[in-house]
Symmetry: C2
Subunit: 329 residues, 2 copies
Amino acid sequence: MGDPAGIGPEILGKTLDEIGDITELYVVVVGDFSLMERYYSGGGKLPLLLHDPGKDICFQENRINFIDPGPGINDVKSGLTRRDSTLKALRSLDMAIDIIKKLPREISKALVTAPVSKQNIANISKGFVGHTEYLQNAFSSKHVTMALVGKSFTAIPVTRHIPVRDIPGKLTRELIIDTLKDVYGNMDILSAKSDPVVCVCSLNPHCGEGGAIGDEEIRVIAPAVESMKAIFKNLTGPVSPDVAFYKAMRNEYDIILGMYHDQCLAPFKMVDFESGVNTTLGLGFVRTSPDHGTAYDIVGKNLANPESMIQAVRLAVKSLMKNTAGKTE
Amino acid sequence: MGDPAGIGPEILGKTLDEIGDITELYVVVVGDFSLMERYYSGGGKLPLLLHDPGKDICFQENRINFIDPGPGINDVKSGLTRRDSTLKALRSLDMAIDIIKKLPREISKALVTAPVSKQNIANISKGFVGHTEYLQNAFSSKHVTMALVGKSFTAIPVTRHIPVRDIPGKLTRELIIDTLKDVYGNMDILSAKSDPVVCVCSLNPHCGEGGAIGDEEIRVIAPAVESMKAIFKNLTGPVSPDVAFYKAMRNEYDIILGMYHDQCLAPFKMVDFESGVNTTLGLGFVRTSPDHGTAYDIVGKNLANPESMIQAVRLAVKSLMKNTAGKTE
């Protein structure tokens, strides 16, 4: 449910209303139950079933299995950001992580997270920079990939929340190759096309102009791309980002690897702000999230657009179907 | 005319056909005359008048005053890139610069350049990185600003053709302030709105998150923006680029200052590739250019879209009208 003082409860309620029947899957929601009851009206389709987090939990099909890690947030006001709500957001996330860890290895899992305030969580949990890194740590993953899946294209930053001055130092062949491996293993999640074209961006302007404007293209990016061409059918790069995103908008490229956060995020949010899905790969399961924040300013006004959350849930479900399909074969 | 072996002659011919009558202005074109005759059909409106570059030139109104610096390029083939055509592109540019320099100071001037191959020119004129820097040097300008004027918004990179690793070192308060001064002096060229909103981007992801992800926002960008708020009515920043360009697309921001080349170019070309105009400010006159290259692959096929060139000429004419209006007051 994310931060109960944000729009998480509202977009979650609207999403469950919209999605309706979910069969052959166990649906588990962790968050504040009173807020869920306020925002979810579709009880007729999938009724809520509140579990006691203190006891052994037996999830049921055709129900929204609900777990409230407590304490109750009964007095959340519009736009309110407080220590209590932040604490509950973090407790909910930790409980979701705990549930996933306890599930048997052979069960396919997916996690959908709702918006939290990174800054507020960092105040009570030092060093919190986002779900991606928090989950990487919780599941002891050596490498995770953040992918932004949109209607127009998918954008994947190879480096994430680091200063621009640190980018050249952090950018290695191994990092690009590890990211491309995560892409290769999740092509059906990252693109609706059966044969998507993957494009790797340059770091420097004009693709470095043969070394005249930086040498990372020659030293790092091109060798990484070349070494992965053996397994990728449609892989190209390095391509200057002012060409890459132009072509992505014209359906020539489907998945764009950017070398840093804003190389991906600025073009992506420009065209897919409403419906983009933030996805984490490399955890052992797929995690998705709407690509927007807590929007404290519109809480309680019935103004929150659930589109990104709906797409996040659909993508998570798709990842489970893929896993199941894989097993049946 | 730019590179005679590129699409310059074709888009120039189409543009002059489209624009038709230009009154109260002297039109001067420098390039290859035989190619001009091939691509320009609108002689009835503004007839061509070929001058001898060796003699004193007396420009005439209601004519396209044409100067061919020679030698003639009669055998340009489709898609051909050669030393001869590159040399002629450079000679044409040098002659245009020479003409502007010789004109009396009190005459309002504007320069429109057509595409050249930077790489080909660099082969015969070492260190050539683009028109912007070449003109800055030719006119001994201390500071020039490159602005990309599009239909959706205008994007202005504070640093240009440098490696990413050099950006933090080159980014100073003075550079941002000098750029903002160029913006302030050319607001009517940069935006069609009477009261445009100017937004300055952050360098680092999430606007540096209060210093957690880089300190350039605190040390450099915010102080520069604050110091310019006294003269700017609508100036905001630093704003994270993934918010800035999203808002620019929704008409909340009109002019975006980016801290580096691709921060501006990737979002800009994504939406304004066909009609964007590359503009140089700070030369003492406005220089405009279509925002695309020589497109050698489509030369001679009548496929070149003149839209960006038409907009470039219109913007140059607008800058002259502004100067004239200023003088009449």
